[in-house]
Amino acid sequence: MLPLFVIIPLSVAFIISLIGRFYKRTGDILANLASLSLLILSISSLSAHHIGSVSVSVYKVGGWGGFPPLGIYMVLDGLARFMLITLNLVSALVALYSINYMEKYTSKYKFYILFMLMLAGMNGVIITGDMFNLFVFLEIASIASYALVAFGTESEELEASFKYAIMGSVSSSFILLGIGLLYSYTSSLNMADISAVLAEKGYSNIVAFISVLFLMGFGLKAALVPFHAWLPDAHPSAPAPISAMLSGVLIKVLGIYALTRIFFSVIGVGHIVLSLLMFLGALSMIVGVFLAIGQWDFKRLLAYHSISQIGYVILGLSLATPLGILGGLFHLFNHSVFKSLLFLNSGAVVYSTGTRDLQKMSGLKEKMPVTANTSLIASMSIAGIPPFNGFWSKLIIIMACIQANRLGYAFWAVLGSILTLASFMKVQRYAFFGKIKAGLKEVKEVPAMMRLVMVILSIICLVGGVVIIPQFNQVFLKPAVDILLIGKQYANAVLGAIP
């Protein structure tokens, strides 16, 4: 069952590229079927899971015999299950939204090919257990996303895509260099095996150098603050469903997931790396939100908020206490839901009015009630207003900061949350409330499919808080937290699970 996560999107991409040119609806139907079946697969992997213990299942690619370092392995553990559900939930809804939204572009089937390739790459990054395989899947997802950012082929989009592709290629080179050094030091590419060998050999300067390379490479992919320059250009320039994918899941899968997997499970986190990550997280949190407040472009504002919210996730994870990791992962899930909803809202506004400039829109609530109400829910969610999911995860992160005696970081987290609220009040005030402008009288609400997706996502925002109720937490979040907490014991868990 495990390789299906890569096989389904890859083969669908291939089929669409063969026949999409002749039958107009192929892309719509196949892409939606594929992403829906991936969502069902990822949820069913959860129910097969034993509660309470760290359960890991391993698949040998190509059925080679022997033990690591021989052969390539795919590993499904608690963290991978959690990430698969987050990714496939967002991608299934985004594929549904694209049916109507992508009508205005020519050659829509090419969009679905690239979309499926990106999905295959991200699913691969999550389930792989091999360093070089991780790099290959990472590049598949990245190259598809460079092409998707340039999909409109207007001058701004091309410029943003070029900038993004250059930054992405540099970060991939750093990652590849890190993998090469790691291979030369441990003579293995299997993550669990590397972890075991490193534990045996002990710490040395080369490991510190490898850590720095990975921090730079994956930090660039995750858009942590000193490496964030490409994100505010690239994310707004893509078509809205792709902005939702990029901000919602791509930076998390390629950046945060890979970073935590390598640092927590393979190399092992030391005190220095953790405090560095904590500092970078807090810096992203504050810098991102300050840059966001001044923006008048709807999507650009959302992109700066992605940097800020990624800071929260990194801060929570790098506390490395059970509560902090829980908060970080929970915020990762919540952010992928409400940020993709906000980007889809901005897409709906662009679809109806044709502008992204907040100063040019006003009073859209009258004409587009569904978009306005769902975006109100998402805004309250990202700002951390009580019943919505964003409140619970931010609360957990701040409590974890206080529990770990990091009061300064708790203060910055609260401040960031207040500034987020301020900037989203600005969005609501200018875009949806107030009197409608003369030029916008003819605006219509978006088609039914787009409305449906926005409503589903806003319902998840509303009830997302239930995930921390023990019954759900046991099967969804806690196994993921456990995998990160056992740290380098991951090696034994995986090596023990090999059939």
Binding site: F132, F135, S155, E156, E159, F162, I166, V170, L177, S237
Partner: protein, 112 residues
């Protein structure tokens, strides 16, 4: 040891090219140099002095051989590099159509 330093210098030349050059095509060449430096590093990792290719034969015993795994990895990395370069060049051509220049200081419709 000196070969590793030369490899590092090649890497830095590529990074310098990326950071300092203003022409889009020269930036793409910089990316290519960085990728070649990393590929060269991989090959160096697998190299053994006077080693031979690890092809087994019934009558011969291979005592000193180079590591074949890194060579397979480099082949994959080259293919990925090809895809990246092709995409970058395609984007650069489209940018030239829109802006009429390859100079990055004149391609600035997006503000920082």
């Amino acid at each position: 040891m000196s070969t590793y330093f030369l490899c590092l210098i090649l890497f830095c030349v590529g990074l310098y090219c990326l950071l300092r050059k203003r022409n889009l095509i020269k930036i793409i060449i910089g990316i290519a140099i960085v990728e070649y430096a990393v590929n060269l590093f991989f090959i160096l990792v697998g190299y053994r002095m006077h080693g031979r290719a690890p092809i087994l034969h019934r009558e011969q015993e291979v005592l000193n051989m180079v590591d074949p795994l890194v060579q397979a990895l480099v082949l994959t990395a080259i293919v990925i590099g090809l895809a990246t370069t092709a995409l970058l060049i395609a984007i650069a051509i489209r940018i030239y159509d829109k802006y009429g220049t390859f100079d990055i200081t004149k391609i600035n419709k997006l503000k920082g």
